[in-house]
Amino acid sequence: MTATPAPPDTAPDVPWEELVTVALLGTGRRTPSWLPPGREAPTALLDLAAVETVRRRAGLRPAPAEARLVPAAPDPRPPLPPAAVRRLALLLSERPGAVGGRRGAAPDLMELLPQWLSLANARGFAPPPQALPALLDAARGRTDLRPAALAFAGPRALWLARLNPDWRFALRSTPGGGAELPPSEDRDRIRALWQEGLFAERVALLAALRTRQPSAARELLASTWAAERAEDRLMFLDSLRAGLEAADEPFLEQALSDRSRNVRAMAAELLSALPGSALAGRMAARAAACVAIDRTRPEAVIVVEAPHQCDPGMERDGVVPNPPAGRGERSWWLGQLVEAAPLGAWPVRLGQRTPEEIVVLPVADDWRDELHAAWCRAAVRQRDPGWSRALLGRPSAPEAGGPGAVSLAERAKLLSILDAADRADWVAGFIATHGLSEAFQLLGVCAVPWAAPLGRAVVDALDIARDAGSYPWSFSGVMGLAERCLDPAEASRLDALTAIPDETEDTSPGAGGYWAEAFQRLTTTLRLRATMRQELGEP
């Protein structure tokens, strides 16, 4: 506020600043002539100052208003139902890191926030504006929450993020800093933005265009390709990964002779994901030269003859010549050739066998692990469900549980290529045979909520683990997943498990009580999830 000048009033009219100066130095040092007589100097000064203080305060006026903010863009989505507003406030009142000690039987609310957000996003609700600060704070602390939290938070959150440096991340995480991209028909504006925009805006433009019109995005990139910096070329090329199509081949083939080695490697990787491309054909020919059926033996055996050199043609097609420390260069080259070769070529090459038949063939001279690992990478890169299923094998196979040719991490990747139902069935079969100890990573790639057979397999396995007498915290990872991923409809089936079982000789002391508590938390969380879902309404 601004002070108005004191109106001419009672004598003596001394400016406030003068009073402050005298007070600061002390009346003992300098007694001004304007102090009214008849009183001690300090008291007279205080009298004057009191009048002046009240006068100054009473005369306060509002300040001139600063320039107004541009209002936030309107959020066209319907508002959240009141019950869901309260639930959101409750979920957000849980602060990460504040939870200490044992978890007890109460649900972990923060863990339910991701699910709540994806439900709210699926229903297309707008957040209550006053909840945005807490939502942005939560997303700031947890990067995994950011995409869903920012999608839900909507335009007003970006508006807020421009005002508070703590929330800058929201602008970085949103393509183009939340700026709107021109419609794909507006070629002039697109071209202008492409030529003059900031790097982030250009990446966002390319990605957006690629999803709408793959060829237009490619042509836009080709128009300025030669003039781009190497690291930018790499980023731009990466945006072609989405919507990769056969028509991209000429452009990618040309990028194989790029000045930058990283750009060449990425172009080769993209081309190898196009099974019909010339590069894929060249790689298939090279790989086929190395892998064959040995027809001299009575039963079929795969023999491998790894390449003896990495010639310039291989290098141009993206083969990295120097192996990492500890790997032989021949097996390193072989792995890259098989990984980049189209999987569709193998049945023909290996005697008209299906992928299932191929993966069970013996492999001579200890090449099996190398070869199968390369096929796994190829199945993931080429997103081939048939090969993925073959390489996963039967879930009940004894070697599936242990460290076989295919590691758990690779299995998880292969599973992600299968459709959701197949994935759930495979993991359910795996758990039924091998129990839960190795299942965590595999469960992580299954669709939420878990399909009924998978959910039942997990609950049965937990039940078995309890009966076997172990403590529940050996399974805390799976328990946590179950709380988030089990279908809430399963809650009623769990009721029997929440009772404290009798202790027997085999069980660990007190384990029964802890299991009852863990199952209680599981059912409570499932019920809470069902309530959450209900509060948000049916889609």
Binding site: R57, A58, R68
Partner: protein
């Protein structure tokens, strides 16, 4: 008095928590897991059994229909009130997911309710007889006289110290540091003048308050001098002003105004703590009288002052004024209804009018720090590193006090506004505006900012 139609929100329940730890612990218990046999009755009783670490579950029961704020009972050994079980139970009830079903209270809950009813009856009868604890009026008068003499001695001593300070210069206060003022404040506590003691303590912190401190220190010294003078000559002051002086010195008197019945909208509730004492301020707006009044309550640190009232709800009650011109403080008398949602909002002013109001209020109480006002159609606007509330339809703005701009409530206000006009209730004073509650431009619930 049935509460069934009006379940509270989680925020309102959590506002009952005595401290952050209880709030946290209560939220964790606000799920069906540990609870069994939870229920609520039409009379506004909520009960449930909560499984703790022991073998017997805790019996928790809350009376939410109680006019003077919820009453709690829990068999847990905790000393906080409400305990985490009571909070968890209320959250469960507020969640409305069906875990707390309507029904007949079990015996143990019914017994407690019966006990409360009997107690209330006895209290009612006692009040009916008009018997207080006045004791011997002559002795009370002598006590009051003795206290006034002590305060007079304290005020004279304080005048002397202020004169010494001004003679030696404020610059010397900077070197003397905080200790000098602490000692003087302790002398004022001895003199039974807590109002003077608080002001003296405030003086001690000013030399370290950054640029412009000499002016602020002179202002506060002058106002303290004015208060001393007012006390020493209180017999010659008009009755209203004399009462204001007494209350500012630390003799608030007792609520003696006639009871005023109204539907009181809870505008804001917030606690401040000085480490020893927690002070709760609740601003109420009477929708018929149009008056804005203040409920003050106190509790030892770590305990929540009573009552706790949910912002945005209104209840029928009688209040009585404390003496003193321009003093908003009232005592809560009988309450006739529990808090219920209402569409009422306090009428708002422009920033220009709000500043003028504060100036006018200084005429009756020159020591007034701030005045409760509602601003209509204002937009939170950045002003350099600070914020202001700018009139949507004018060219003026009130600065937001730096201390409230540093609190998370500011961002809730900014988010609610989105660059558009909002209605804001808060305290308007010489330091600026402290926003406490906001309403969206369109229909919508009150959003607490403190």
């Amino acid at each position: 008095m049935t509460q069934q139609g009006v379940r509270w929100t989680a925020d309102q329940v959590l506002a009952l928590a005595p401290d952050a730890a209880s709030r946290k612990a209560g939220s964790e218990l606000g799920a069906a897991g540990p609870w069994s046999q939870a229920g609520s009755s039409d009379e506004g009783t909520v009960w449930g059994l909560c499984k703790g670490s022991g073998s017997t579950p805790y019996r928790t029961v809350v009376d939410i229909a109680e006019a003077n704020g919820p009453a709690y009972s829990c068999s847990c050994p905790g000393r906080k009130s409400p305990c985490k079980h009571a909070l968890g139970l209320l959250l469960l009830w507020a969640g409305g997911d069906g875990t707390v079903s309507r029904g007949q209270a079990p015996d143990w809950a019914e017994q407690w309710m019966e006990g409360r009813r009997q107690h209330a009856q006895i209290k009612g009868t006692a009040a009916g007889h008009g018997g207080g604890t006045t004791g011997d009026p002559e002795a009370a008068r002598r006590r009051a006289e003795r206290r006034a003499e002590r305060i007079t001695a304290g005020a004279e001593e304080l005048e002397q110290r202020l004169a010494d300070l001004l003679r030696g210069g404020l610059a010397s206060a900077e070197q003397a540091g905080y200790g000098l003022w602490e000692e003087t404040a302790a002398r004022m506590v001895d003199a039974q003048a807590p109002g003077l003691a608080a002001r003296v303590r405030e003086l001690g912190s000013l030399p370290a308050s950054g640029a412009g401190w000499p002016a602020r220190l002179l202002e506060e010294c002058a106002l303290l001098h004015l208060l001393d003078r007012g006390w020493l000559r209180r017999e010659r002051l008009p009755a209203g002003l004399a009462a204001t002086v007494r209350s500012r010195v630390g003799l608030p008197g007792s609520p003696e105004g006639p009871p005023v019945r109204d539907s009181w909208l809870v505008l804001a509730q917030y606690d401040t703590s000085d480490g020893r004492l927690t002070t709760r301020r609740i601003w109420l707006y009477g929708s018929e009288t149009g008056r804005t009044v203040l409920l003050l309550s106190f509790a030892a640190a770590g305990r929540a002052p009573e009552p706790s009232l949910p912002v945005g709800l209104a209840f029928e009650a009688e209040v009585s004024r404390y003496p003193g011109d321009g003093q908003p403080r009232v005592a809560l008398g009988e309450r006739f209804t529990p808090p219920e949602p209402v569409a009422v909002r306090p009428p708002g002013l422009t920033t220009l009018r709000a500043a003028a109001r504060y100036g006018e209020a200084l005429r009756t109480d020159p020591w007034l720090e701030s005045l409760p006002v509602t601003l209509n159609r204002v937009i939170p606007t950045p002003a350099g590193d600070a914020w202001q509330l700018a009139d949507a339809d004018g060219g003026t703005a009130l600065p937001i006090t730096p201390s409230s701009a540093a609190r998370p409530g500011l961002w809730r206000l900014v988010a609610l506004s989105g660059g558009g006009p909002v209605t804001v209730f808060g305290e308007c004073g010489h330091l600026g505006f402290t926003p406490l509650t906001a309403w969206p431009e369109a229909a919508g619930d009150a959003v607490p900012l403190c």
